[in-house]
Symmetry: C2
């Protein structure tokens, strides 16, 4: 009785839910590609981990590469939506930099799959990102925020004036990405887990100090 009421309005549930099918494939694929890379991931395995079949991957995404590109698109846009929430406009410039840095730090730490996808896409020389219309012109809200903060800091004579927003963003990213992306080889060689919770605050402060000392130096 409780099985399949055809007219039940919400509980079309299990069968026939294109939205769910699509998003479930994407979610599983995100994890699989992040875990094993594009060549290492297996279409059959992705399908097996969903409640649908391989055919649906081809139905919705065209193929392995189409699926991978969709994964990248979703990951990047999801991240950007999160970054939109930066609200550091009315803070003291130095404090704003500190918060933006901490935000990037937290963000990268809590999205290892995204960091891994970025690494993987760099191995592919960003070939797929280039092919995606969505990702081609994807601005970075964190960069906009940063630009305004730097302008204010410079106007107030607090920051050095030979500073470029993209460069500052690069410094912050470099540190935060390295900590997550190179965790394993770094630990293998230096016997130090950069993601050890005991060292989290230390590194979180460190990257803030690093950037601020540079910005407030004479230049």
């Amino acid at each position: 009785m409780a099985t399949q009421t055809p007219d039940s309005p919400v509980a079309a549930s299990a069968a026939r839910d294109p939205e769910r099918t699509r998003s479930e494939i994407l979610a599983v694929a995100t994890h699989e590609f992040a875990d094993k890379g594009f060549a290492g991931a297996r279409v059959d395995e992705i399908a097996a981990k969903t409640r649908t079949t391989k055919r649906m991957i081809y139905y919705y995404f065209g193929g392995k590469e189409g699926l991978y590109i969709s994964v990248l698109e979703q990951a990047y846009t999801g991240i950007r939506a999160l970054e939109q929430q930066v609200d550091v406009e009315h803070l003291d410039p130095a404090e704003a930099i500190r918060q933006l840095t901490a935000l990037t730090f937290d963000h990268h730490e809590s999205h290892p799959d995204f960091i891994r996808l970025v690494s993987i896409e760099n191995i592919h020389r960003a070939r797929h990102i280039a092919r995606s219309e969505i990702l081609a012109g994807l601005a970075n809200p964190a960069l906009d925020a940063l630009t305004r903060i730097l302008d204010r800091g410079r106007a107030a004579g607090r920051f050095r004036d030979d500073v470029d927003p993209i460069d500052v963003h690069m410094m912050i990213s470099a540190f935060c990405v390295f900590r997550t992306a190179n965790r394993y080889t770094f630990n293998a060689i230096f016997k130090r887990d950069m993601l050890d919770p005991a060292r989290r605050d230390h590194y979180r402060t460190m990257i803030g100090d690093l950037v601020l000392e540079y910005l407030t130096a004479s230049g």
Copy 2:
């Protein structure tokens, strides 16, 4: 006449040169793995690009994974040999930091294959490095040099004293690795090639400033 003199002492040349066969396979494999990752690289293609056959890969390296591990071992030990050449002992500590930073910068820039192999190995969670006896206890000479420099700088009251050599090494690596490893996605999104020769000096100075400002700050 010039073909195959069996007693010619050096020119056993083309045929029968195990040393050359082995090293040629390694060289080609290094490039292929760095280019396409472990799963993406093809044993047949590696073999085709050497003057020998696939059979020799299995003869000398046991299999694809054995070959990959050998590639990592060779790459890491080659790099370490280069790092040994750091001679910054008798310099002013600040100047020594600058030189060490520049050395890392130059090094990473001129060894993209190595950087790619490191990225790839991180995707594999350093599984293969862990399995290699050679790489397990591979110290980092750059780190030793750094430790002594920091000690001297601290003793002279020039560097902050809450500083840890591994952390400083991490800062330097983060920047230099990021610049090479994330070149493609960074360029795709920010339209800036971090390896543009026109910006090389700028970044080379920047990482030196960054580290030194941090080290000489109050702490």
